[in-house]
């Protein structure tokens, strides 16, 4: 049997057929057209899968199930997306009902961060671990929690908001309205803010030479590049960032004690240049001073979504 996965994004719909062992047999993308009525988008997802199955010489008799990762508030039991801010017309969308009209196999949906976490746990850096947390460092800080081999999202499907835990009471304002959330300090956005501050405070910092001096376009890689070139201000920004990241990881380990914490997203591309300073701080942040939890860099990159989505049917 093969498994079909869809990663619905604000820009692109990605689809793939996946083997039992997590191999991507084939994949295809189309533009989302996020401004369109939701029915058109959902029908496109169904057609994309149907096309992929036919093109590859399969029939739906070969397909175990179709899984879909959707950004937003999802009810996986009823196959409904309550709301997604990434599309113009996505409120109470009965995704599975619409897809069932043309797809004759079971259809599962889940939040996109959760499916990416499932993909990484099963076939990525998690090596098939049953207890695994994936942290994605991007505009925000997303979490995908796997407990006993299954996605954990709380009793009402909206849990797992790892980034929206206060680690600095009365700290910087978060987009969610709270102050001092982990996300404010440890998202890629947080690192960029720490870099920009140093660029402004220290005109002689290499950070000001990045991107033709346009510090508003500074990104995470620029800061690591400047640090590699020996810029002490960039190095200091990374130290600050690593410390906050380690504090949140320490909290996560003390509560969840997973086999793996997998770090993905922009800054994770720096691998040991991110992990080394994080691990230095993490040692003093875990209960009892040591942990068997392994902190590792994500493996599947942009494919985590389609792989994890496809595996929803295997859970």
């Amino acid at each position: 049997m093969i498994y079909a996965g869809i990663d619905l994004g604000g820009t692109t719909i990605k689809a793939a057929l996946i083997s039992e062992n997590g191999e991507i047999l084939c994949k295809k993308s189309i533009p989302t057209g996020a401004e369109r009525p939701h029915r058109e988008i959902v029908e496109d997802m169904a057609n994309l899968i149907t096309g992929l199955v036919e093109e590859q010489g399969y029939t739906f008799d070969d397909v175990h199930s179709v899984g879909v990762g959707v950004p937003g508030a999802i009810d996986p039991v009823n196959g409904v997306c309550y709301f997604s801010a990434n599309f113009a017309d996505f409120r109470d969308v009965h995704i599975t009902d619409i897809m069932k009209e043309t797809i004759p196999v079971p259809i599962y949906i889940e939040n996109d961060a959760n499916v990416a976490g499932l993909g990484e746990a099963m076939f990525g850096a998690g090596n098939g671990a049953k207890n695994c947390i994936t942290i994605t460092l991007g505009t925000g800080l997303g979490g995908g929690i796997i407990i006993d081999g299954k996605i954990f999202s709380g009793a009402f499907f909206g849990g797992g908001e790892m980034g929206h835990q206060v680690i600095v009471v009365d700290g910087l304002l978060c987009n969610c309205g709270r102050k001092g959330c982990w996300e404010v300090y440890s998202s890629a956005t947080g690192l960029i803010r720490m870099g920009k501050k140093r660029a402004i405070d220290h005109p002689n910092s290499k950070l000001n030479l990045m991107e033709d001096g346009k510090i508003n376009q500074l990104n995470a890689k620029d800061i690591f590049d400047a640090a590699n070139e020996g810029d002490p201000y960039a190095q200091d920004a990374i130290e600050e960032y690593a410390r906050y990241l380690a504090i949140g990881l320490g909290n996560t380990i003390n509560v969840f004690q997973p086999e793996y914490i997998i770090i993905g997203g922009g800054p994770s591309a720096q691998r040991d240049k991110l992990l080394n300073p994080v691990m230095k701080y993490l040692r003093s942040e875990v209960y009892g001073g040591q942990t068997r939890t392994q902190v590792v860099i994500a493996k599947l990159g942009n494919d985590a979504g389609v792989v994890g989505a496809a595996m929803l049917g295997k859970q």
Copy 2:
């Protein structure tokens, strides 16, 4: 069938026989003698249960299983307590092996905070909820996490340390060595510290009249009593305490979104006098501004341990 539960404490060993529905059929306590060799303590637990079974006219044919709640680091799969600070000789104690010598039914052990959480979830304030977190406000802040009806303690049995999450980076030193843990602010100890500070800063506070002016003996109830009598400094201490407690509860809801958060321990005896200020702050601390998680006061009190321990065999 009946279920036997033991709550091993530093001072007292409590044992009870429990019905299928969580009723306590009978209970009995003996002093622990924490300074003794571990074998004597464990044999006493076995004898206490055997005595209770015989006294009540049962045989072990009527007993489904024996469960034991133990303070410390527990491996429930192998029935071992790696270490407990509450006893003089408790390192690598094979509790189930020793008890098996005289007890002919299955024996299960677990961390005491976890079993208390299980008891509250199944037959206490959790009303049988499958996703439930119990927070105990005492010397420290303990957590018992129930997911899918089962105790969750991470991949290596040492998770669930809810109190050892940093909520104030660079905050007050915690016993665990980190700075700014939730426990420092939201344990009963934290409330007492907040009360004492006001007593010292404000000589005219009623807090100085408590306990014959011995502010070193101030307890959580004294602070609530002074607040009830209109003392503004005591009221202020409770507001501060409630706010920190709400921040940690907000973090817990954003990640776990349980059906219930159950609050136990000394300050919880104040019921609405604690819950009302906490709920006021909590509303601004949850993602999206609202939650279906119910925050309630524990019901079973000191019996949560024996009830939960007995139910280990029913999991």
